[in-house]
């Protein structure tokens, strides 16, 4: 883990309100372990917004890191105004990685909304390692998609309103592909309702599943104890620490679906 002033190579809007930024970050790359990891970005040096913003790594190669972000509020708006040539301070790489994506399984990669970056990153890693897989990308409507629906090449898009790809949520194609393939393994990141649905499905059907979860973070390095998620721990003790809650920044963000619970 290190702090690096990274040079912005590019910062462009790739879909409605969704931006992609490439950073020259050789230090981050030198410690990078794999998809699932994130960087914690200091968007402005002033203290108007004290906290860094955690962003999943969407790609990491040739000394360059990319992130994909949606404009949510002031800080992401400021981020979108940055130009190539500007510097930005990043802390990372942080967190754990997806595991078990290998030829013993058929990986089904599922990304929704701002949860797409680590899934795209995992897709690149699967391609590099020549592991057959399908990617399913969910969005509300076609404006949010920046990848083409291409079922022949195992790229499936869904939209809630049917404006592109398959109509409905990611659950339909997930269920279909699980029935088609041997030893499926789900890897997912996305909005909480999507993760809740995938978790329920995976437990009911006994499909191994890793979820990358999002959490509001204070520091990203385990100091503030702010970013907890409930563990799926049935034998709760009266007095304990770290048995009921897990710290997303250092224990996660990737968990086996059976190990965590959503509120």
């Amino acid at each position: 883990m290190l702090i690096e002033r990274a040079h912005i190579i590019s910062n462009t809007e790739v879909a409605h309100n969704i931006w992609e930024m490439f950073l020259d970050a050789p230090g981050i790359i030198s410690e990078y372990k794999g998809s699932g990891q994130f960087i914690n970005i200091l968007v402005e040096d002033s203290w108007n917004h004290p906290l860094r913003r955690p962003m999943s790594i969407a790609s990491a190669k040739d000394g360059k890191v990319s992130i994909i972000y949606k404009i949510f509020g002031d800080v992401t708006r400021i981020l979108s105004k940055k130009k190539s040539g500007n510097d930005i301070e990043v802390l990372g790489p942080l967190g754990n990685t997806f595991t078990n994506w290998n030829n013993n399984y058929y990986p089904i990669l599922v990304g929704g909304g701002v949860g797409l970056p680590p899934i795209l990153n995992l897709k690149s890693e699967c391609e590099l390692s020549k592991i057959d897989h399908t990617i399913i990308i969910g969005a509300q409507n076609s404006n949010e998609h920046f990848i083409a629906h291409d079922p022949k090449n195992d790229i499936i898009l869904t939209t809630d309103d049917g404006s592109s790809g398959e109509s409905g949520t990611v659950m339909n194609p997930i269920d279909r592909i699980i029935k088609e393939k041997n030893r499926p393994y789900i890897f997912a990141c996305g909005p909480e309702p999507m993760l809740v649905a995938i978790r329920d499905y995976s437990l009911k059907n006994n499909i191994p599943t890793q979820l990358s979860v999002e959490s509001y973070m204070g520091c990203g390095v385990g100091l503030c104890q702010g970013c907890v998620i409930s563990k799926n721990n049935t034998d709760k003790k009266e007095n304990s620490y770290h048995e009921q809650y897990s710290l997303v920044c250092i224990d996660g963000p990737v968990y086996e679906s059976k190990d965590i619970q959503f509120e």
Partner: protein
Amino acid sequence: MSNLEVSIGNITFKNPIWVASGTFGYGTEAPDLIDVNKLGAIVTKSITREPREGNPPPRIVETPSGMINSIGLANIGVKKYIKEMLPIYEDLSTKIIMNIAGTDIDEYIEILELMENQSSSITGYEINISCPNVNKGGMEFGIDCDMTAKLTEELRSRTDRLIIMKLSPNVSDIVSIGKASQDSGADAVSAINTVVGMSINANTGKSNIFTTYGGLSGPAIKPIGLAAVNKLYKDLSIPIIGMGGIVSSTDVAEYILAGSTSVQVGTANFRNPGTGEDLIDMIDTYVADSNWKSLVEMIGKVEIHN
């Protein structure tokens, strides 16, 4: 390097830059980002008798120039602290101040006694009195002079190590609580703990913190911290350890001028765990470039307009 040494009780600290409880874990979390041995002291996360999970999420939220937290004293408990942390502290060359929290006076006493029965290199205790006293209907220790005095006395009689009472700003008269601490034998007071605050999401209509109210920290509270330190400085004779919104060497200078002998860096650690180390060099430069001969000379020397 100019002389940055400061004394509290009979202890000399190599510099006045400490890290604040709850913002630096147990001192071992970010070894890649800071050389903790440079720090004047590390105040460790509040420790209770039993381990605690802390509050359900959401526990933190950013606010203008600050943040609100309601962690709920998540900690490993005193037994694990003794077993796992004390051996690590033996090898550090910075001073460790253990922060203690409790829900009744007996809990504080028990933790302190367990610690005093150990041989350890702990320099002293900072007592978090912003905790609800279950025996007084959940009233915080630190809002009542008598409870603060009683607690300080009980702890004082059981240790020769430093006792620092950590004062809450959420009181009508912080000086009287400071005086009660001083008169009952505290070596120093630290101020301020977080300021009660609330954050609401107007889009969802929900509170942004599970427990509704939380503790505001960061630059947003610096003026509150400075006023508290200055008021305490005027009326107390024991040293004051100032904190609240320190992120730069000018902030440190302001706190020293207001009357602090040492300062603690809190929320700034979340942005950069190396802030404390950076501030040591920066305050050194500040003193060298100023007309002050030393940092100690600056303590409480803010010029008042009359």
